[in-house]
Symmetry: C2
Subunit: 318 residues, 2 copies
């Protein structure tokens, strides 16, 4: 455990962050890691409170996620979802049978008045995690995406509506985080950011995964104050996201779809950024922004590569 150095805070979205964290907990004691997870993609399906990013991180760290599919649980079945098709309800969001147990438990606990942060801890313990997971806030924040149709008409969609139901096809013209202004960081988040030895911004969508976390009042300010301890991992490699729809959001919102664009978006609060070896020739542009560039292999094809990436990432601000 070469990097035992106090609390490590990781700002995390879904699958990319989950894979990075799986590597991170191979090089530091899992109990030293606090993952602050985006909840602006959370939504309600069939009355159940679904937290996609929290669950992706939990299932991946537990070694239970479906690696091939990139979401959900290994060996999952969909009997309930299939049976729901009989009723007049939308079934485009893929809820697996085992996954449903998590949503049933979470919904019940929230209904009992337990804050999401406490429920998240209960779920992490149930999955045997030593890593600490916390939602960015216990308050409701919801990503809303304004799209323009072929006809020129605009509509505002929830994140899952845009990404899953409409397969990220409609052109994005604006994104907002409903409820963020009034949200409070979850208990312990600000203290952890102030005391953390290192703060990692995981390779997640800058707009809709990291963006909502930064929009919770107090979190961005805490990062700015710790800028020399903040290191990001670029989710953009060779001008395209490793996975997910980041390019469908960054371009329209004026962020260059490149590691340089990510560095520019993060420069106020990140002292360093890890970029992929294929982007080696852009390191100078990144450094010209006042952000140290660390070049390494960032495609996490295996837990071993993820661990190596985590090691390089921590070293960037060591």
């Amino acid at each position: 455990m070469p990097y035992r150095q106090g609390v490590l805070v990781a700002l995390a979205g879904g699958v990319g962050a989950a894979r990075f964290l799986r590597g991170l907990v191979r090089v530091v004691p899992p109990g030293d890691v606090l993952a602050v997870v985006n909840t602006a993609d959370d939504d309600t399906f069939h009355g159940l409170s679904v937290s996609p990013d929290l669950d992706s991180v939990t299932y991946t760290l537990a070694g239970a996620s479906n690696q091939a599919q990139g979401w959900g649980l290994e060996g999952e079945t969909f009997a309930t979802l299939g049976a729901l098709e009989r009723y007049d309800v939308p079934t485009w969001f893929g809820l697996g049978d085992k996954d449903l147990a998590t949503h049933l438990f979470r919904t019940q606990r929230l209904h009992d008045g337990v804050p999401l942060s406490a429920v998240t801890a209960e779920i992490a313990i149930a999955w045997g995690l030593e890593t600490r997971l916390v939602p960015m806030t216990d308050d409701r924040v919801a990503t809303r995406i304004t799209v323009r149709d072929d006809t020129g008409a605009t509509r505002e969609l929830a994140m899952q509506e845009w990404f899953v139901r409409e397969r990220a096809a409609p052109s994005v013209i604006a994104v907002r985080f409903d409820g963020a202004d009034a949200a409070r960081p979850a208990p312990g988040v600000i203290d952890a950011l102030h005391s953390a030895a290192t703060i990692v911004i995981c390779p997640s969508n800058p707009i809709i995964s990291i963006g909502p976390i930064l929009a919770v009042p107090g979190i961005r300010e805490a990062l700015v104050a710790r800028r020399d301890r903040v290191v990001a991992v670029s989710p953009i490699v060779g001008g395209a996201p490793v996975r997910g729809p980041a390019d469908r959001l960054m371009g329209p919102l004026g962020i260059d779809v490149s590691c340089v664009g990510v560095a520019r978006a993060y420069r106020d609060f990140a002292g360093a950024i890890v970029i992929d070896a294929v982007d080696r020739d852009r390191a100078a542009e990144v450094e010209a922004l006042g952000v140290r560039a660390v070049v390494t292999d960032t495609i996490m094809r295996s837990p071993e590569i993820a661990a190596s990436l985590a090691r390089e990432t921590l070293a960037a601000v060591a």
Copy 2:
């Protein structure tokens, strides 16, 4: 369709009633049948509103019930319930994956403010039923069973706690229907009872299936007023219930566990009772109570036998 004779109302519990109704709709047009179903066994599991008797009737009439098991759906799986065991929640109530879809839909609709009677109609339509199903009430009525343990201590249990969790083992000393005094019959029930050509009391548990229906103010009175059109089918054959725990309830509550005991319990509002051929020698005792006894085969080993039983039952008050 020899018995087309206007609305037929059937008071129904779970599986026994469901099998009788499956026979009934072979001899009368299904759309002429209104089943008024017990909801005092309804309970909440994992935040979901479960209505066991309504679902037994729905699934059976749809031809989708698990015949061998006696409850639930054919080809059912239990992946969600298995996954719930990870969390600190009770999992003794067997909720199947396909069955969960019904509970999710019902819970969501109730949460939206739709009355149970309207949700029940939606579910029946979703399963393609022509038979009309209605809960006895849209209000909450809950069977509470007081039991005495071996130590002599008494406890009050919900119906499913006593029957499923504790396998009907604890001795019963009292039964009450919480909320019944303030409950109102579901829309249309009283009108249907007043205008029905025939009212059938299905072969269901007299105490905890038919009892709660009778406890909803107005229903028993309506039956008394139509006594000559009311016919019951005895759920007790040869001194024991065909299925279920009726004997564990009737004895302690002072009702003889026999077709005579049932006739005595129903005599105020039932003009006739169908008893099994094995109880032929008790017909005179039944008739001495002022209740006409009709003797036939009541064990519904097949839909054909159920249809024959239904035909005999209707003929008893024709």
